[in-house]
Symmetry: C2
Subunit: 318 residues, 2 copies
DNA sequence: ACCACTAATACTCAATCTGAGCATTAGTGT
DNA sequence: ACACTAATGCTCAGATTGAGTATTAGTGGT
């Protein structure tokens, strides 16, 4: 049994930060081969995965991570393209990657410039239902998706995932949507992975894709993270790990909206939020917006307790 | 970098089935060294983890799994005791185990006897808040827990996890509770893991423990699975993967109660359930209970859709 | 000092959901 | 026909939501 090829455990981290305008993820790699921060797990040096993740993210990017949570372990053969720059996996090795989500809190311009951050909607334009660009992105994809959906099973999956035919758009089904686009060949990774088996490079595709690709299966990992984060907002107070220490309710709402890609009903958002007891007002005000000054809030002690719930998301009408 | 010790990927499965009276998990191993079904992942033969899990569970136990979901990847050093019967990991190897939950549906007596099934409350008596035995189990532990909680931080963790001081009992915090008991040395694994480093075996403990131990960190894996399952019941219609094809609402309620270890308010349970549209009545009746015959229901098409929600759990008063 | 403008905050109202019970059946066994 | 036992039905008040309308308290000119 010792002739088995090695298994290499890679760790990838989806590090999310909120920077004034939106959710941004930390990237690494050279142009053309951009991916998530990725490190390999050293069975001797690292006692736990989590420590290893904190470790390599900090040493690669200088950030100290706050909240860290294991995401998923990706082990499918064939889905990952070889990571060119790792230089330590031979063909015979099997790379299994344990993905982590980390929330880096709210970062300032300085920190922002220190790392390579990108708005996550660059990779998933269709996930932003608030912007014109997002709506347009989905409109571009839908005809092709529908053309691909030749069976009823496919049709119903598409309808569910993308909220067609009266189904509602579920912001957390990011992965389902990505998987469908992948299967339908509408994201670049699909073509790349198909080509991989062959010796000859495929001719460059005619197709212009919507959304930028990432190295290996990192876009899938990112989709998983987005979905998890969006779902978790509803049942655990994690937004506060992305928000600054003091914030106005509008800022918090903006943050949630941009993470979930949807518009919320303002008055109802504040109402449920204040009732929840997750925030408490500091005395201070914030008057930089040109309107009535807003109260500054902080997360309350309640929000730090183990069983604390998340936010309700009162969607705004059309 | 090629001198690294090998990493071995183990797969462990928490296979849950509902057998008339309660949730049962599939076990394997010899008496005294009971654990979860465990297999090691073969990087060549297995294309995906999920296939590997289905594969080894079926070959080890004869069951075909239904719903399968990845649980967590456990990689902490020191938490796992060596698995005696694996015989393929040398001391230098690092075993990382990817845990899966699988729901085996509703099993009959024949299937039940074919495998080694155990009521999961054998390992977590305190998790059953409906039975006298469960209440008593917790009462036995609380004094020791309180004695251990010397700092305010510990006290508040204990209070949160076990629903003391007005905090409510959260059925899904199974892992938090187990971790606290472990840290407090109130479960057998704690003592075993501490003894592991030493050459001499520790003298047998005087203490009588509440709840049976499992091999390696399998009880922790099981706790994770229970927590996940209990939480998931609320937001995804997974109960139906444990219920028989046709069931009465009382049977379904029983199933949920036993999984979550709490009593529910009957009328309200049926009300929300019927409103949810997750079930639909077959015409048939079931009259074996000695009372008014009950309508037999099935899960509806809605309950199979991607975005379908779970059940609400209207707790019954004291 | 006064006015227009812009967000932030306050209130309202109806439609739903929930928590708790009380009341009515439709079988089974005698 | 009668007692018993679950399964169903119904009711009511209190809390939560979805959607708006109505007031503020600053800011930037004039």
């Amino acid at each position: 049994m010792s002739a088995t090829p090695r298994v290499i455990i890679g760790l990838s981290a989806v590090v999310v930060a909120a920077s004034g305008k939106g959710p941004e993820v930390l990237l690494s790699g050279a142009p053309g081969a951009i991916g998530l921060p990725f490190g390999s797990f050293d069975p001797i040096g690292h006692r736990t995965f989590e420590l290893a993740v904190r470790d390599f993210v900090t040493s690669q990017t200088g950030f100290a991570l706050g909240y860290v949570e294991q995401l998923y372990t990706f082990g499918d053969k064939g889905r990952e393209a070889p990571l060119a720059d790792m230089g330590q996996s031979s063909d015979a090795d099997r790379v299994v990657s344990v993905g982590y989500i980390a929330l880096a809190g709210s970062i300032d311009e300085g920190q922002r410039r220190a790392g390579v951050w990108a708005d996550w909607y660059r990779f998933f334009p269709w996930e932003d239902r608030r912007s014109e660009a997002g709506i347009r992105a989905l409109d571009l994809l839908l005809p092709d998706l529908k053309a691909w959906a030749t069976t009823t099973e496919r049709q119903s999956r598409v309808a569910m995932a993308f909220g067609l035919h009266g189904q509602s758009w579920q912001e957390s089904q990011v992965l389902d949507r990505f998987e469908l686009l992948y299967e339908a060949g509408l994201v670049q990774e699909a073509q790349r992975d198909r080509a991989k088996g062959q010796t000859q490079a495929m001719p460059p595709a005619e197709r212009t894709y919507v959304g930028e690709p990432l190295v290996s299966d990192h876009r899938r990992i990112l989709a998983t993270a987005m979905g998890r984060l969006r779902a978790k907002i509803r049942y655990r107070p994690i937004v506060f790990d992305l928000a600054p220490a003091r914030f106005t309710l509008s800022e918090l709402q903006d943050l949630v909206e941009v993470l979930c890609g949807v518009k919320l009903h303002k008055q109802n958002f504040r109402r449920t939020l204040e009732r929840s007891g997750l925030v408490e007002s500091t005395g201070a005000m914030h008057a930089e917006t040109g309107g009535r000054p807003a109260m500054l809030f902080t997360r309350s002690a309640v929000s730090r307790q183990a069983g604390a719930t998340g936010l309700s998301l009162p969607l705004a009408k059309r």
